[in-house]
């Protein structure tokens, strides 16, 4: 995980909007900024696709031979007849630029290519597994938010000892590797106490431990950013104003402070999705859950590159979508104009 946080603090608009008549131009600006974001997202996708294509080229050795070896699971010399079939199938005799354009064209139609090993479209391989991974990461992110918000609201800006405990817990949990936390949770709650199944099924019951494994470090990581913002917001004049109106401490935290404090964590969420997907690869292995993580590890082991790059492209797409959602969420929480 990237430990140092870089969050852009939004600055208020330079000039107060003139009364009335601002509605249409504001809608126009919003549309323009969404369009800009979408173009940026496309550029990221294109970059991911290009990297994926380059990775396929970068495999050492003759590609046709590699493909045959991957299929057979062993390395050997191939006859020209064998190679010709593969070259024909993958269009390996075409110029690289043509292969690249074919690849991009396929992507645009939703075709991620064919698995070397499984003789079938990559999309089918990923498609049957992606639902489980999505359920896992989604649950984990929701859990992480709940844990983080409760923990920070309870401990931030309290007595020095409580604050120290709060931030220590965040530092420790943020640094926990998924594999270790997952094994500890499994040993304690599944093997030791028997509360949960050891092998995580697809049901809700089997989802909790794997999701917690992902959620706890994420909560710690987001908590660090949120705590800093929370404690800054607590000292702001508007918070004192609210208290001087007769508002209680908890009400101030929930109604005023929290909204300001979650902004940095919201900006981190797009990135957090990536970190969670990384973690999902490990967690699916520990709890022997279905999901693209397992597919990925198997494919990496077998050097089945179309599957690997297919997953890379799919995850990059998820990242782009997540970031667009984050932008929407951000403007809902902070309606002030965002300066880029």
């Amino acid at each position: 995980m990237t430990p140092t946080l870089q969050t852009e603090s939004p600055t208020p608009a330079v000039a107060p909007a003139v009364a009335g008549g601002g509605g249409t131009s504001r809608a126009l600006r919003a549309a323009r900024s969404i369009a800009a974001k979408a173009v940026g997202g496309l550029v990221v996708l294109w970059g991911a696709a290009t990297a994926a294509f380059a990775a396929q080229l970068a495999l050492p050795g003759d590609r046709a031979t590699v493909i045959l070896n991957v299929r057979a699971g062993q390395a050997m010399k191939r006859t020209p007849e064998e190679l010709a079939g593969v070259i024909e199938q993958y269009g390996l005799d075409h110029p690289v630029i043509l292969q690249y354009l074919t690849f991009l064209g396929g992507l645009a139609r939703g075709d991620l290519g064919n698995s070397y090993q499984q003789y079938r479209p990559v999309w089918d391989v990923i498609g049957e597994q992606i639902g489980a991974t999505f359920a896992l990461t989604f649950t984990a992110i929701v859990l992480a938010w709940v844990l983080m918000v409760v923990w920070v609201t309870l401990t931030a800006g309290r007595r020095p000892q409580v604050r120290a405990l709060g931030s220590l817990a965040e530092t420790v949990t943020a640094g926990l590797p998924h594999y270790w936390l997952g094994i500890i949770l499994m040993l304690v709650f599944a093997l030791g106490l028997g509360w949960f199944p050891v092998i995580g099924g697809t049901g809700l019951h089997g989802l909790l431990l794997p999701a917690l494994t992902l959620a706890i470090p994420l909560a710690g990581f987001m908590g660090q950013a949120t705590r800093a913002a929370f404690e800054t917001a607590l000292t702001q004049p508007f918070v004192i104003s609210a208290r001087m109106r007769g508002m209680g401490d908890l009400a101030v935290r929930l109604r005023h402070v929290l909204r300001h404090a979650v902004l940095p964590a919201v900006t981190l969420s797009g990135w957090a999705l990536g970190a969670t997907v990384s973690g999902a690869v490990v967690v699916e292995t520990i709890f022997t859950r279905p999901g693209i993580g397992k597919v990925l590890v198997t494919a990496v082991n077998a050097q089945d590159l179309p599957v690997v790059t297919g997953i890379v492209v799919v995850i990059a797409a998820a990242y782009v979508v997540a970031n667009l959602l984050v932008d929407v969420a951000y403007t809902l929480i902070d309606p002030r104009l965002r300066t880029s």
Partner: protein
């Protein structure tokens, strides 16, 4: 203090209208086992329709005292008093629930700048409604109607639409009114205003003071906290002057302002710059001028040292719309003269200064320095000329490399090319320090550890290092307490007289400008609306905006002794 005393005072209170009694209030903070007292005995009484002002510089304990009246002194605070009672209730015995009941309903609190004192993410109507909701006032629709009524009562036009806007969508004056409305929502008998005009443009300050005056007329008891004697002069019936946690002066406003008894109050009043202080020093001590030996001979030139012609600068706002920050500004600055540029935030005065310094490129127009091309040159050819013009900023700290101590900052400014030997550079640094009234003791220190005044002196020393002809002072005294501000202004006056410097003095503060400047440009929305000799402009303002600014000027800086 027994309950019988409390009851008897309550009876007299009802007759005399006394709402608040504070007797020998002491506030301390305990941290890590150690305790430190910050308020040593504050006493006053406050009746309906009366205004008590507590005046002091930063660290005087005035804000802490005010906050202890609503039980929000802060973590680790110990509040003691011989008596602290509000409408006959003993505040010293209050529980958290009691405090919440009193806050907002019996005591309304107004903090400074609404941009930060109202939740920037919520519409102002919601903030005002919140005060009503917290105290169980009416149902939702009744509260909504009341919010509009409150906004209208503080002079906000079109309240239905304004209530739906956030503070950053409202103008400075309107959002400050909304903040006051939120404090007055439950019609509290006592209103505490803690620096209600600080950080506001002068015209907005005047509006806020008008509104507070009206509040007082409607029978509210008002406590006004300010660092600025001139702000409270208009409203206060009684003034308490605090310094270092002690009340050093306490008396009727007229007496404190016109016949101050304590030396501190006298020096505080004397330190307020304005037209009446022109041509004299603000402090009673004349800063000693240390003659310098290493000074470079001024570059000979007879004409104006700085000459700006038709400067135009456009910016793109974050939302993409174009905005003309500086629009056709021209001026000249003669040798040994101070030209003030005065205007409110967003008037383009600082952008003008940055263009003059060639730190910002103008879209059109140019500036000539000592009769030579200046802003039209490429930076490479401009560099040798840069020693003729230097700058002092409002916040010196951010203009110092955080890794450097004072010695390194000044040696760097003295320059390597001119003085090759380290010893010669150190000698020059020592001379500069003496010039700005600092002892060599500060050399090894980081600016972080210096006081605001010391930092500004270091910044001035750095600006003087190349012996420039022109010094641009961009709000250089705006962030300082009034007494420190006076010392820096006196230093600037002395340096100008001895070194023949020309100042381009940028400020939002009319009082400071009228004290220091010879001529003045008044800027509004990027345009110079009026210019001329300071005395002419201030005595016979031609433009309505200038008149508005002067009308808003605080009595202490505006009222010359002759006006009476």
């Amino acid at each position: 203090m027994t309950s019988t005393i409390l009851e008897s005072t309550t009876e007299t209170d009802q007759r005399s209208g006394t709402r608040l009694r504070v007797d020998n209030l002491r506030v301390g903070f305990t941290k890590g086992g150690r305790s430190k007292r910050v308020v040593h005995g504050l006493s006053f009484e406050l009746a309906a329709g009366e205004c008590v002002a507590i005046v002091g510089e930063s660290g005087s304990g005035k804000s802490v005292s005010a906050r202890s009246l609503v039980g929000l002194t802060g973590a680790g605070a110990v509040v003691e008093a011989d008596e602290l009672s509000l409408d006959g209730e003993n505040l010293l015995a209050f529980t958290g629930r009691d405090w919440r009941r009193v806050r907002g309903s019996q005591v309304g609190f107004i903090l400074q700048d609404a941009l930060v004192s109202l939740d920037p993410l919520r519409p102002v109507g919601q903030e005002i409604g919140e005060a009503l909701r917290l105290h169980g006032w009416g149902d939702k629709s009744a509260r909504e109607a009341k919010v509009l009524e409150l906004l209208a009562s503080v002079g906000v036009p079109d309240p239905a639409n304004r209530a739906r806007q956030r503070p950053d969508e409202l103008s400075g004056g309107l959002r400050q009114r909304a903040l006051i409305a939120s404090a007055l929502a439950l019609d509290p008998g006592i209103v505490v205003a803690d620096e209600p005009t600080t950080a506001l443009d002068v015209t907005v300050q005047a509006q806020v003071l008008d509104l507070l005056e009206e509040t007082k007329r409607r029978g509210k008891a008002l406590i006004l906290i300010s660092h600025d004697l001139s702000v409270v002069a208009r409203l206060a019936d009684r003034i308490l002057v605090m310094s270092g946690g002690h009340v050093v002066e306490d008396g009727p406003a007229d007496q404190v302002l016109n016949d101050p008894q304590h030396e501190y109050t006298r020096s505080l009043i004397a330190a307020v710059p304005g037209a009446h202080t022109r041509g004299r020093l603000l402090g009673s001590q004349v800063p000693p001028f240390v003659s310098v030996t290493s000074r470079r001979e001024p570059t000979p030139f007879a004409g104006p040292v700085l000459e700006a012609c038709e400067l135009v600068k456009r910016f793109r706002r974050p939302d993409g719309t174009a905005h003309t920050a500086v629009d056709g500004v021209s001026f000249t600055l003669e040798r040994g003269e101070t030209l003030g540029i005065v205007g409110e935030s967003g008037s383009g005065k600082s952008t003008t200064a940055r263009i003059a310094l060639a730190l910002e490129r103008a879209d059109s127009g140019s500036v000539r320095l000592l009769g030579r091309d200046w802003t039209s040159l490429p930076e490479r050819r401009r560099r040798p000329l840069r020693r003729e013009i230097s700058v002092v900023y409002q916040d010196p700290l951010s203009s110092f490399d955080p890794r450097w101590d004072v010695a390194r900052i000044l040696e760097d400014a003295v320059g390597r090319t001119e003085l090759r030997s380290g010893a010669a550079r150190r000698e020059r640094v020592a001379e500069l320090l003496a010039l700005v009234g600092l002892t060599p003791e500060v050399l090894g220190r980081s600016p972080l550890t210096l006081s605001g005044g010391q930092r500004q002196r270091v910044a001035i020393a750095r600006a003087l290092a190349p012996w420039p002809a022109v010094v641009v002072l961009d709000e250089a005294v705006s962030a300082l307490d009034v007494s420190i501000q006076a010392q820096i202004l006196d230093l600037l006056t002395t340096l100008q007289a001895e070194l023949g410097l020309s100042y381009l003095f940028i400020s939002h503060d009319l009082g400071v400008v009228s004290h220091l400047a010879d001529r003045v440009l008044v800027m509004k929305d990027g345009v110079v609306v009026e210019h001329g000799a300071v005395t002419d402009v201030f005595e016979n303002p031609a433009h309505p905006y200038t008149r508005e600014l002067i009308a808003a000027l605080h009595p202490l800086s505006a009222a010359p002794t002759t006006e009476g």
